[in-house]
């Protein structure tokens, strides 16, 4: 059977950063990525990132992916990259099975860093399965990766960061955004993103939700309505908006299937998006040798995912005996960066969530 020291499942921002740091310590690493290209969701992000310089602030996501790939290249003798490769299972004995280009293979790593990210949450309303109703991530992929417009006009559900950003990207691609709805009475995403949208004349309707989708073969219009403070629909506030695309962006939930399979101790933490693994300060889960980083450990920004990846990479390598003199320094730097990214008002929710999963 194939072996490696550290298998990294997922080649997004967290996974790439984990690979770079583990390899820089001297570990032999295998990145397993289900897509054709590395970079994960970064390849769809046309906007500039927040954070500080250490997390590539003010650089566009698509360009951060390029930077990470260049860093990766420095350690190419120690990093094996598998693309088009989906991890199917982590078995009872730690063996990982993989499908790559219609081939089935297995690998037995000494440690594994799971950086599988998150998937979009769904929303239930009548006719929610009509063609024309898409996840925000799907719309992003379609237009930013494949250059295909999802339709003529869009109503966005969700005024969190993703909803706001994808709305902006839709306008960039020449597609009309008719309105952004959010069930909550307050805009969830960063207000600068919101201002950007408002400036273009797109209404953001807080305390609103989609009540009904209409269409025979595909979406033709949606009925929206207002919500009261208990999130109950207020009768008589319904109105119709004609649109051929409804985009759903109501949050992400960590993609934790593999962690469950591996037997990790999981906890339901709404602040972090759903079930997440309990972990120690080195990002090791309750199963020895299984580390996590990025959205799979709790939904946050790509900036913190990258720092977490770096931290997990360092610790996993150290645990396998690859110690460098500056380990403590690097370790502390990661912790400090994470603390600063999570400080302040916006990070409050994350901090509250993380307190509950610390081991």
């Amino acid at each position: 059977m194939r072996t490696t020291e550290i298998a990294i499942i997922g080649g997004g921002p967290a996974g790439l950063r984990a690979a770079i740091s583990a390899a820089s310590m001297g570990a032999k690493v295998t990145i397993i990525e289900r897509n054709e290209n590395l970079g994960g969701q970064l390849v769809k992000q046309t906007h500039m990132f927040f954070g500080s310089q250490k997390q590539y602030a003010s650089t566009r996501g698509i360009d951060i992916a390029e930077i990470l790939l260049k860093d990766l290249d420095k350690y190419k003798d120690r990093i094996e990259i598998m693309t088009n490769a989906t991890v199917l299972s982590i078995f009872e004995d730690g063996v990982i099975s993989i499908e790559q280009d219609d081939k089935y293979l297995k690998i037995k790593p000494q440690s594994v860093i799971v950086t599988t990210g998150a998937s979009e949450k769904f929303l239930a309303f009548p006719n929610n399965d009509l063609p024309g109703i898409y996840g925000a991530g799907a719309v992003q992929t379609l237009m930013n990766v494949h250059g295909v417009a999802p339709g003529r006009s869009v109503v966005m559900v969700g005024a969190g960061n993703i909803g706001l950003i994808v709305s902006y990207q839709l306008m960039q691609a020449g597609i009309e955004v008719k309105a952004i709805l959010d069930a909550s009475p307050r805009i969830g995403g960063y207000l600068v993103h919101a201002s950007k949208i408002r400036r273009m004349g797109i209404p953001i309707l807080t305390s609103h939700t989609v009540k009904y989708a209409h269409g025979t073969d595909k979406l033709q219009k949606v009925t929206i309505c207002q919500l009261d403070e208990k999130f109950q629909q207020i009768p008589g506030t319904e109105r119709d908006i004609e649109t051929d695309v409804l985009c759903i962006s109501v949050g992400l939930s960590p993609l934790t299937e593999l962690l469950w399979q591996a037997g990790c101790n999981m906890k339901y933490i709404p602040e972090l998006g759903g079930h997440v693994p309990v972990r120690d300060k080195d990002l090791q889960t309750s199963i020895k040798g299984v580390y996590v980083a990025g959205d799979v450990a709790g939904v946050e920004e790509a900036s913190s995912a990258m720092v977490e990846g770096r931290l997990a990479g360092l610790c996993a390598a150290k645990a396998l005996g690859h110690a460098t003199a500056d380990f403590e320094e690097l370790h502390n730097d990661c912790i400090e960066q994470l603390n600063s990214l999570r400080s302040g008002h916006v990070g409050e929710k994350i901090r509250k969530g993380l307190e509950q999963v610390a081991m």
Binding site: S89, F91, E92, S97, K106, Q261
Partner: protein
Amino acid sequence: MNKTASVVIIGGGISGASIAYNLAKKGVKDIIVVEKKFLTSGSTGRCGAGIRMQWGTEMNCRLSKFSTEFYETANEVLEYEGDIEFKQGGYLIVAATEKEDEQFKKNVALQNSLGIPTVYLTPKEAKKIIPHMDETKIISATFCQKDGHLNPFHTTQAFANAAERLGVKFMKYTEVTGIKVENGKVVGVQTDKGFISTPVVVNAAGGYSKQIGEMAGVDIPVYAERHQILVTEPVNQMQDPMYMGFALNVYIQQTPHGSFIMGRSGENEPRDLRITSSWDFTEKMAKDACTLLPMLKDLRVVRQWAGLYTMSPDRQPIYSKAGNVEGFYMSTGFSGHGFMLGPVTGVVMSEMILGEKPSLPIEKLGLDRFEKGELLFEPSVV
């Protein structure tokens, strides 16, 4: 909260539900079924859910014939509002060795003598029944159209609903922690939700029945063994019967829903209560399926899972009362065939508990057969 019952049945699988239904139908009041999780959460809900009358011992033939005939009208008899999805697409059992071929000839004669309409087929004839099989992999086959497949969840639910209408209480999410025996007699069952006073306890706990026996001080010579199984995406109907081979160690069937369910026995499966997944199973199963039914190579696996077989020394059920503890009964050791025997289990166990004359000669299936060395070895099992 403390309770009193006339009978406590431990285990909410097909056996427990069927025994409860049959006892209640005979007029027994105050029956409680205690289930650690939810109905079918154990082996019943994890099984392949096939039913066949093609066996190598008279006992198994008769037990399964009784059950098959019951299942034919179970929706109506149990007045179930859903559908137990009984599909009688038959079992095509293939022989891959000369020895197996010889055994099959004997089996067919035995089965026919008991009124089971099995036929013996050449590979060519078998291929007519499952056109996508590679007939060069087999020597002969036997086929019984009356064999089939059911939905285990709905089937158990059908028994349970009927039992509930007759007054049976099901305590879900209730774990048995002890069985109280005084002066050689059962007096009650301790659970995490309180004590239940009862003079009769029925052990229908499947993989956990050895542990339940120990709680009453009864030694049952069974062990739990992990068996694995997988299911594919659904496709339009293409295979009516179950494809099964003993030497080939495989069973593959298409459910009415369209998905294929297939399983095999592992060489080194753990003999404890573990139900984790192994890659060894996935690979061997996929290989077997593609070799024997080559067309399935494009079928996608959606999920693999595992459940427990409760193995008895001769791979036949144990329908028995305990020799040393009065009021303690057991229905266990089905060795992978407990689901299909559900209907007969309920009938014979209720008769045993009520001291009635058994409908079938099950006295040979008692616990004492192991002490006496009177084992009834079943040759035809996966």
